[in-house]
């Protein structure tokens, strides 16, 4: 179980502020992608984020473009999960396909503060924040399979080989 600090943001955090459109057709390198994470939302984020940190936000996280870098840049920046009140549809798929954990848990979003240290127990479906514990429904097996494989591409690769 990894712990990390919380980076808390508001509602309707869109893909353009997570990963600006001007980079979507030129930046494909993971490290370079991580360097632009949340650039237009919080210019301090990319320089300070540490492996295991958690992004916490309100409703409709990841709305807007289908650009997968919005999920990928957070993963490459070391973010272990995004906890939100709800997720935009394409972002949710992209996150799982990239192997980035996404947790829908409105109570946790209300109960966790920016900069707080939290830990996530994925198998038990629990978020631990000091004395507070928040539960979330464990992900379906199919999704866990994708996350464990490291995302959709490694998963499909195994499937094409007949390993799954």
């Amino acid at each position: 179980m990894k712990s990390g600090r919380v980076w808390k943001y508001g509602e309707n955090i869109n893909t353009d502020v997570i990963f600006p459109g001007k980079y979507t057709y030129s930046v494909l390198d993971p490290e370079e992608m991580a360097g632009h994470a949340l650039e237009d939302l919080d210019p301090d984020f990319a320089g300070s984020v540490q492996p295991g940190d958690v992004v916490v936000a309100g409703k409709n996280f990841g709305c807007g473009s289908s650009r997968e870098q919005a999920a990928a840049c957070l993963k490459f920046a070391g973010v272990q999960a995004v906890i939100a009140k709800s997720f935009a549809r394409i972002f949710f798929r992209n996150a799982i396909n990239q192997g980035l954990s996404v947790i829908k848990c409105p109570e946790a979003v209300d109960g966790i503060s920016d900069d707080e240290k939290i830990a996530i127990d994925f198998s038990a479906g629990k978020i631990l924040a000091g004395e507070k514990v928040f539960s979330f429904p464990p992900l379906p097996d199919s999704v866990i399979g994708l996350l464990e494989a490291g995302g959709l591409i490694p998963y499909t690769k195994k499937k094409l080989k007949g390993d799954i």
Binding site: N12, N14, T15, D16, V17, P20, G21, K22, T24, Y25, S26, L28, E39, D40, L41, K59, N60, C63, G64, S65, S66, R67, E68, A71, S86, A88, R89, I90, R93, N94, N97, Q98, S142, G151, L152, I153, T156, K157, K159, L160, K161
Partner: protein
């Protein structure tokens, strides 16, 4: 109990009756991508197989940064062309065709009842033709290139029932902005949106595309209009293959029904930095701006350029603003050239750019500096989208943008129509 369009269309594909909430694994009809194909190709190569499963289903249009604005883009375009040759992909549209969504429609891929997936969020546009079309990500598209299948959750459906005749000066753009403003950017998240009611059939095909395109800005998985003679006539010489229209049952079950009398709607503007921050144009009258954009996959078709030319013909755009005009495709460009629309717009002082996405995504052809404000006919006004994170974007109809360009400040278009 009846079924919605989404339930019936995805049920046909799955060859079994399905209801909202079920997950189906199905084979799509067409797969769209654009300049992002370079990234998709990279993912595809990681799968370790030499060939895509069905090249006939793949449609690639270069439109986002065309012609290549820097060496990096040129390199990616080159890699895409090489892949296309190597994989025998015949449905390739190089930089001279226009915006992918318009080119896809003009070339008869957007067909009633088809399942279309695109690595672009505005893939929802083809719902104007009665297709089920949804946006997906890059690795997902690479995976579908390889396997020819995808899992999809059958969505619940939100019905938007429209009646009444829009007032003069009120267009499809104003109507969808009003709906998004009233209901919020996440209202249709994960859902199918059916645009129905007596007024739905009155919309031109171009106007239906505006609504279906911007259904994505409510979070929708897909948008839908019942295909009718307007669609069938348009498809007459264009359809790539046979198609079977799919309609909702009259007793289908909906998540909710939103009711709109279009005659009550006035011109609308979406304010920075979210598409649901919508106000009537009267509340913004007089707001100064620096750059106008008329075009994009939302509003770059004949009826859009025509109303802009009607307002600007014989006049000059205000000296304090610059106006960019981008027809959605080469076909639209040629038409606007032949009918004199481009001549009127150019004489008025507009900059006519080549068909493509232009500055909508902030990569080239008119990006914004810090402190600058744009008034655009595009579908998104997210912070930093057109350039500096300290710029602002307002969204409106082509008529509102053209009228505002004349005055150098946001202006109600009704006095010019």
């Amino acid at each position: 109990m009846g079924k919605t369009f989404a339930e019936k269309c995805l049920g046909h594909k799955a060859a079994k009756p399905v209801t909202a909430g079920e997950v189906v694994t199905i084979s799509p009809d067409y797969l769209l991508s654009h300049d992002n194909s370079a990234a998709i190709i990279k993912e595809f190569h990681e799968l370790g197989i030499p060939k895509v499963k069905d090249p006939k289903k793949i449609v690639i249009v270069l439109d986002h940064i065309v012609p290549a604005a820097a060496e990096k883009y040129a390199q990616y375009h080159k890699e895409i062309r090489e892949f296309i040759a190597e994989q025998n992909i015949s449905n390739f549209f190089d930089i001279h065709h226009g915006i992918c969504h318009q080119v896809f429609c003009e070339n008869g891929f957007a067909l009633p009842g088809k399942l279309i997936l695109g690595a672009d969020s505005h893939t929802t546009s083809y719902g104007a033709f009665g297709a089920f079309s949804a946006g997906i990500g890059r690795s997902e598209l690479a995976s579908v290139w390889a396997t020819d299948e995808i899992w999809l959750r059958v969505p619940e459906t939100l019905k938007v029932e429209m009646s009444g005749k829009p007032q003069k000066g009120v267009f499809a753009k104003d109507i969808i902005l009003k709906i998004i403003g009233d209901n919020g950017a996440g209202r249709a998240n994960y859902m199918s949106v059916e645009f129905t009611g007596p007024a739905a059939a009155d919309f031109s095909l171009a106007s239906r595309i505006v609504l279906a395109n911007m259904a994505a800005e409510m979070g929708a998985k897909n948008g839908y209009f019942s295909p009718d003679d307007t669609v069938f006539t348009w498809l007459n010489k264009r359809a790539r293959e046979n198609y079977e229209p799919v309609y909702s049952d009259s007793d289908a079950v909906y998540e909710s029904v939103l009711v709109y009398d279009l005659s009550e709607i006035e011109p609308q503007v979406a304010c920075p930095h979210t598409v649901d921050n919508v106000k009537p144009v009267s509340m913004l009258d007089g707001k100064a701006f620096h750059q106008a954009l008329i075009g994009t996959c939302t509003n770059g078709r004949e009826e859009d350029l025509e109303v802009a030319a009607f307002i600007l013909k014989g006049k000059k755009v205000h000296p304090s603003v610059r106006v960019l005009v981008i027809p959605a495709s080469r076909a639209e460009y040629l038409n606007a050239m032949r009918t004199g629309i481009l001549e009127s717009l150019s004489e008025a002082g507009c900059v006519i750019l080549n068909p493509g996405c232009g500055p909508c995504l902030g990569a080239h052809q008119g990006v914004l500096a810090s402190g600058e404000i744009a008034l655009s006919t595009a579908n998104r006004n997210f912070r930093g989208r057109m350039g500096s994170r300290d710029s602002e974007i307002y969204l409106a109809s082509p008529a509102t943008v053209a009228a505002s360009a004349l005055e150098g400040k946001i202006t109600d278009p009704r006095k010019y129509l």
